[in-house]
């Protein structure tokens, strides 16, 4: 099963991938800008994400919030998202509205600044602060990502600081910052445009040339601070967070091979084998057999530079003391490290991943997003068609090599959430303090 792919590059550096599929009159437009929270300077944490909000506040020929209105009026869906390494913007529209979606994206890539005002910035700053309150501060375990980043990356590393940012830094962001960030990062040569679905390639090429062709190339972006890191932490890391949560929860992170590398696929299979669905090791042992956990899972962050993270996530049952939660998870990881994995477990993990990979390509938006991702990180959108084979080629011995290297005691970082209320009872306190 392969999806068709064409690529070309405009003179201004914009890289374009096209993938036709005429089964339904739907087309997805997807833009990745190769900028994320990693590119933020000191004192401006959260800026990449705040900037994403500003991109919906209008541009030279589009009014405030009109981007949303025009796409919804056309019967389309849209959004944007910010991650450590990239920011993406996407819309799926009826195929006769392709020109509209492309024009809107081009207008804000070419001429955002004329529409920026202090008032819009102030409002979106408030919206983002409320997003932080909603998703991070007033949500159990909502601080997980920023606490983990802080725990596992060294202080000057681009992945070390919070993606949503601090309230203080959000308050400090100015219109000058907007102009500077836009000029540096929102340039055609720092972006990938993908179109997937029902369109004619020649028509799409003409529209892209007309709309995006006149936009000037950027002047280059400052290099990121050095990102490469040793394969392991070197010593166990641990942080305890006493928080307004009901159940103890352990996130145990391991440095793992970067997204897209040969070893990444073995890491991804390891993560599925440990925590994907009910037949996974952690679910079977901790939730079903030993019944000390209410839930268990594992995932990779899929970072393409420096070092990726594989994270094991286990939520305790109410009666499980924190110390026991940590001990039992450690024991499972020790056992994995000592004894390795079976062929059968690897087969199960690969079968589940393969179904998910293929099923996910049903949606035009997903296809376009993955094309943009592979083009942005590796300059090779055709990697989308190689994923099934990459996973199929992972053997138990590859997983065992990875596990041997990365799951030892020198590569574990534990972030432990402990209910603040429970701390008052003595045994919980003893458990939390005496865990190490």
């Amino acid at each position: 099963m392969r999806i068709p792919i064409e690529t070309f590059r405009l003179d201004n550096g914009l890289f374009v991938t096209l993938s036709e599929d005429h089964t339904a009159p739907i087309v997805a437009v997807n833009l990745w800008y190769h900028v994320g929270s990693a590119n933020e300077r000191e004192g401006r944490t959260g800026f990449a994400h705040l900037f994403e909000h500003m991109l919906f506040q209008g541009s030279a020929h589009v009014g405030s919030n009109e981007h949303f209105e025009l796409i919804q009026r056309a019967g389309g869906t849209l959004n944007g998202s910010t991650w450590l390494e990239r920011t993406n913007y996407f819309e799926t529209v009826p195929s006769n509205e392709l020109a509209l979606a492309l024009w809107l994206e081009a207008d804000r890539m070419g001429e955002l600044l004329p529409a920026m005002t202090q008032e819009k910035l102030d409002t979106q700053r408030d919206v983002v602060k409320n997003e932080r309150r909603w998703a991070v501060d007033n949500q159990p375990y909502g601080t997980m990502l920023e606490k983990l980043q802080e725990l596992v990356f060294p202080p000057t590393h681009p992945f070390q600081h919070s993606l949503i940012g601090s309230m203080e830094d959000l308050s400090a962001a100015s219109l000058d910052d907007i102009a500077q960030f836009f000029a540096t990062y929102y340039t055609p040569d720092n972006a990938v445009l993908s179109i997937a679905g029902d369109f004619d390639s020649a028509d799409a090429r003409a529209l892209i040339r007309d709309y995006f062709g006149p936009i000037s190339k950027g002047k280059g972006k400052p290099p990121l601070s050095p990102m490469s890191l040793p394969a392991v932490f070197g010593a166990p890391l641990r942080e305890v967070v006493y928080d307004n949560v009901s159940l103890p929860r352990l996130f145990m992170a391991f440095r793992s091979p970067i997204f897209g590398s040969d070893q990444y696929y073995a890491a991804s299979v390891t993560s599925a084998l440990l925590g994907m669905r009910k037949g996974s090791r952690l679910h079977r042992v901790l939730v079903r057999e030993r019944q000390i956990a209410a839930d268990a899972g594992a995932f990779t962050l899929d970072l393409a530079k420096g070092s990726d993270l594989l994270v094991v996530d286990v939520m305790a049952r109410p009666e499980t003391p924190v110390a026991q939660l940590e001990e039992e998870v450690e024991r499972e990881i020790d056992e994995l490290h000592r004894d390795g994995v079976s062929e059968e477990e690897v087969r199960r993990a690969k079968a589940l991943i393969e179904t998910d990979l293929i099923a996910s390509l049903q949606s035009a938006g997903e296809r376009a997003d993955r094309l943009s991702m592979f083009a942005t990180y590796f300059g090779r959108p055709e990697l989308i068609n190689e994923q099934v084979d990459r996973y199929r080629s992972v053997a138990a011995k590859d997983v065992n090599t990875l596990v041997e290297e990365r799951f030892g005691a020198n590569n574990r970082a534990s972030l432990v959430y402990v209910p603040r209320e429970g701390i008052e009872s003595e045994d919980m306190l003893a458990a939390a303090v005496g865990a190490r």
Binding site: A74, V93, P94, A99, L352, A364
Partner: protein, 449 residues
């Protein structure tokens, strides 16, 4: 310089919701199949008329528990073996119950579908409900209930339902049960519920994907033969409000940085004559990014990350609710804006621009909703659960386009009741109490969380 002129729409290409075959097996099981051959993927969805509204009084949560336990063991396979067998086939089965039905579903690659379907049919015919698994799933549900105490969104939803419906309405209690009701459920309650409700004539199998409808029909006949015939007794749906007077409830959460707000009243059952005008009305009020409530609270005031309104459609009258989270110090002003928007849409006509935004969106987005086999299977399930006509999806867009400004006003004035609004605020009572009390929201009650 980017082109300054906005492009015009091209000529639209036609779209039809996938054709489907709807038939009944000799055993009484209904089978709905649709061939969608874009990718080698199939979704199988089993629906049983055994939702949470069938829970006996005092045993709330048994429908959800029974559905989850279907996959936790038979006489010949343990729960762990069941997971393992499906996952080796590259699929995992999900099961559960919502208000109106129990469901079991899986998505598999086409070449593994037959094995998965036959296995599923055998497992569902004779679940053993092992005692150990019953007790484990009960304990996991109790852990979830405990989690809710520190999870403001879920807590607000649950308290809202509790304050909205009368005690004798099943909707006043959580669909998966409360701590007391779950603790009281025994293995024999689960088995009794299963025997009474899981009958051939109460069951529909939906199969959508890369398989011909003929092959799909044969596969279902093979995998699901031999089910006990007969149908479950139908349950009386009670959806009466707890009170006809407006009231405001503060659920106290010390030091909360935001207030979770729910404002609404008992809404409407899914099958009503003016469904389409009501849908468009809600889209204008709070159903879209560009709706009045979101533009007001988020884009004009910056009070929130997002605000919306919706009807929770069920067979009986589910809630109509405006839902948002705002920073604590603007709780009262945000509530005032919500009340104004509800009042405004029921007393004055919406503009033609607002009508066309909602109508064009609902009409245009229609094909985008059915890109995946999972989404198409859910859409077919909706037809079955609410007994909608077979041409429902073929006439959907015409029905949306027929809605006028006048019909929207009629729907709003008939179905929105400002004098009956129940308001729930999960937030810091010390900070918000006085300002909330000064609003015209009815009697104020404060609850310890």
């Amino acid at each position: 310089m980017v082109a300054t002129l906005r492009p015009k729409s091209g000529a639209p290409r036609s779209y039809r919701f996938p054709a489907f075959v709807d038939e009944r097996l000799p055993s009484g099981i209904r089978v709905v199949t649709a061939q969608v051959s874009k990718l080698p993927v199939v979704t199988l969805l089993v629906l049983v008329d055994a939702g949470s509204t069938n829970d006996p009084h005092g045993k709330e949560g048994v429908a959800a528990l029974a559905a989850a336990l279907l996959l936790e063991g038979t006489a010949w396979l343990s729960g762990a073996e069941i997971s393992e067998k499906f996952e080796q086939l590259g699929t995992s089965v999900e099961s559960g119950a919502d208000w109106d039905s129990a469901f079991v579903k899986l998505t598999a690659l086409s070449d593994r579908l037959e094995d998965a379907a036959v296995l599923l049919g055998r497992i569902l015919r004779e679940p053993a409900f092992p005692e150990r698994e019953v007790e484990r799933l009960k304990a996991e549900r109790l852990a979830e209930i405990l989690q809710l105490e520190t999870e403001p969104r879920g807590l607000a939803d649950e308290k809202f339902s509790e304050f909205l419906y009368s005690d004798d309405s099943r909707y006043s209690r959580p669909d998966e049960g409360s701590a007391d009701s779950v603790a009281s459920i025994s293995r024999s309650d689960v088995e009794g519920f299963f025997k009474a409700n899981y009958r051939a004539n109460s069951t529909t199998v939906v199969l959508v994907g890369d398989i011909s409808t003929a092959a799909a029909g044969n596969l279902v006949a093979k995998a699901f033969h031999n089910w006990p015939s007969g149908a479950a007794e139908s349950q009386r749906l009670i959806a009466t409000p707890r009170t006809n007077r407006k009231r405001v409830h503060i659920v106290d959460k010390r030091d909360a940085p935001q207030s979770e707000l729910r404002v609404g009243h008992v809404g409407l059952p899914r099958k009503i004559p003016d469904f389409f005008p009501t849908l468009v009305m809600n889209a204008v009020l709070g159903g879209l990014f560009g709706s009045r409530i979101n533009l007001n609270l988020r884009e004009a005031h910056g009070y929130t990350y997002g605000a919306s309104s919706y009807y929770d459609w069920r067979r009986g009258a589910g809630p109509f609710v405006v839902s948002t989270a705002v920073q604590s110090d603007v709780t009262a002003p945000a509530l005032r804006e919500i009340l104004l928007e509800i009042e405004r849409i029921r007393t004055t006509k919406i503009s033609i621009e607002e009508l066309s935004l909602a109508r064009d969106y609902l009409d245009g987005v229609f094909p985008i909703r059915y890109e995946t086999t999972g989404a198409i299977a859910s859409a077919l399930a909706t037809l079955v659960i609410y007994a909608l006509p077979a041409d429902y999806y073929d006439t959907y867009r015409t029905n949306i386009r027929a809605v006028t400004v006048d019909r929207v006003l009629e729907a709003a004035s008939a179905h929105l009741h400002p004098d009956q609004l129940q308001t729930v605020v999960v937030g810091d009572a010390r900070v918000i109490r006085d300002s909330v009390a000064s609003l015209d929201l009815g009697e104020l009650r404060i609850h310890d969380q």
